[in-house]
């Protein structure tokens, strides 16, 4: 079947099997491999992308379901050479080690800040509960997201 969707601002029509998952459309058909597959069981959040601006786990969304919708992956965040403020926050606060969870973590954080622009540290921790990191212990990830937030409070 044909699925037409906008990915990072560019419209694509892709011929996929009906059972194709969004993450495979992105990685295997469009070659956008920033989005990782970790658990493949909806638990780890490594595959998080934005669907019409909201975070979803792309290993648990059918490609067919998003026909006509708009997807943003990590590749689409920066504005040319200018990084997104969440990316800047991760760099400034050393919010990554191996980097495997990072694309999903960043996309989840972008969605969180869109819904709650000035979260507390506790709200960041809870807001990212769907994303697992095996390296950092989360401390610097929380600092990175607070750095990116406007007028953040209660560090």
């Amino acid at each position: 079947m044909n699925v037409t969707l906008t990915v990072n601002g560019v419209s694509h029509t892709v011929d996929v099997e009906d059972r194709t998952l969004l993450v495979h459309l992105l990685r295997d058909h469009l070659g956008l491999t920033a989005t990782n597959i970790g658990c493949d069981t909806t638990s780890c959040g490594a595959c998080t992308v934005l669907l019409d601006g909201e975070s979803v786990k792309s290993c648990t969304v059918l490609a067919a379901s998003v026909d006509g919708q708009s997807v943003t992956t990590l590749e689409g965040l920066a504005d040319g050479e200018r990084w997104h403020r969440v990316q800047e926050g991760f760099r400034a606060k050393h919010g990554l080690q191996c980097g495997f969870c990072t694309p999903g973590m960043v996309m989840a954080a972008v969605s969180l800040l869109a819904e709650n622009p000035s979260p507390t540290a506790a709200q960041v921790r809870e807001g990212l509960e769907g994303n697992l990191c095996r390296c950092t212990g989360y401390h610097n990830i929380v600092a990175a997201v607070l750095e990116a937030a406007e007028g953040s409070v209660a560090r």
Binding site: M1, E17, D18, R19, T20, L21, H24, D40, T41, T42, S43, G45, T48, L51, E54, S55, V56, K57, C59, T60, V61, L62, A64, S65, D67, A108, S111, L112, E115, G127, E129, G130, N131
Partner: protein, 275 residues
């Protein structure tokens, strides 16, 4: 992991979904948010021949006031229930329970109708809806029928829904200004409840429901009766597990679940101002 092959049918309205179910019969499965069905399909625990995708049926995504009742479309997502002011005002127990479902990503996709129809006894929304005396409106070839939350689930992941029926609306009698409590015990973030207890006061009475204390969500009938008979909350809570047959699994033994039911009932009653 990818699901076994199936034919995909998109149904963007209740009528289109019913027509597709009629056409494809027992081989068809409805897909709402997919947050329960797709994981099962990836593990090949579910292998429908036809998937009828209702995730974008706009006529089934709404929250509105209908006199003394909140009418919630089956395709309303968890995140929209959390943020709907009419839910916070008239059924805060439901908004609170929805805020604890999985994580933000799951709440951006998962729907109240999918959660009710899936009938997982450990799920948050069915537990809250049972204490709220909700009822479920179902549409099928023979027309519409309304089923109470008490009668809806018949066993583990089993309901009175026929394969050609669609859950269209959840009706919640308003509980404006009434006290409530919700206690969910989990070992890990984003997990389902090991045991959950919902308490909803209404017109002087108190409803208590239990999640994951049997093959369906349950009312704690003996504890409710004890309260109605004048027992203290602490004494009534001792009856929370009466008559239940909780499962034993990797997270808890049956005895531990019974213990949790009693403790969480006491805490939920305290949160609802009963001591």
């Amino acid at each position: 992991m990818i699901p076994a092959p199936f034919d995909y049918v998109r149904a963007d309205s209740a009528d289109a979904a019913l027509a597709a179910l009629r056409e494809h019969g027992d081989d068809a499965k409805l897909l709402a948010g997919g947050q329960s069905l797709l994981p099962l399909m990836k593990l090949r625990l579910a292998t429908p021949g036809v998937v009828v995708d209702v995730s974008r049926a706009a006529d089934l995504a709404y929250v509105r006031e209908d006199g003394d009742v909140l009418a919630i479309g089956a395709l309303t997502r968890h995140c929209d229930i959390v943020s709907a002011e009419v839910v916070t005002a008239h059924a805060p127990l439901l908004a609170h329970a929805a805020s604890g479902v999985g994580d933000r990503q799951v709440r951006h996709r998962g729907t109240i109708g999918g959660s009710v129809a899936h009938a997982d006894p450990s799920a948050d929304l069915p537990t809250a809806l049972l204490a709220l005396d909700a009822s479920y409106v179902v549409r099928g070839p023979a027309g519409e029928r309304t089923i109470t939350a008490t009668e809806f689930a018949t066993g583990f992941l089993e309901t009175v829904l026929a394969p050609d029926e669609l859950l269209i609306e959840i009706r919640v009698p308003k509980a404006t200004g009434e006290a409530w409590g919700y206690q969910k015990f989990t070992r890990r973030a984003i997990d389902w409840a090991t045991v959950a207890v919902a308490v909803q006061a209404r017109g002087g009475g108190t409803a208590i429901s239990l999640g994951n204390m049997g093959s369906t969500v349950l009312r704690a009938a003996s504890a409710e009766a004890a309260l109605a008979g004048g027992a203290s909350a602490a004494d009534a809570a001792q009856h929370a597990d009466d008559g239940t047959e909780p499962a034993a699994d990797v997270t808890a033994s049956a005895d531990y679940r019974r213990h949790l039911a009693r403790v969480l009932t006491k805490r939920a009653l305290a949160a609802a101002g009963r001591s």
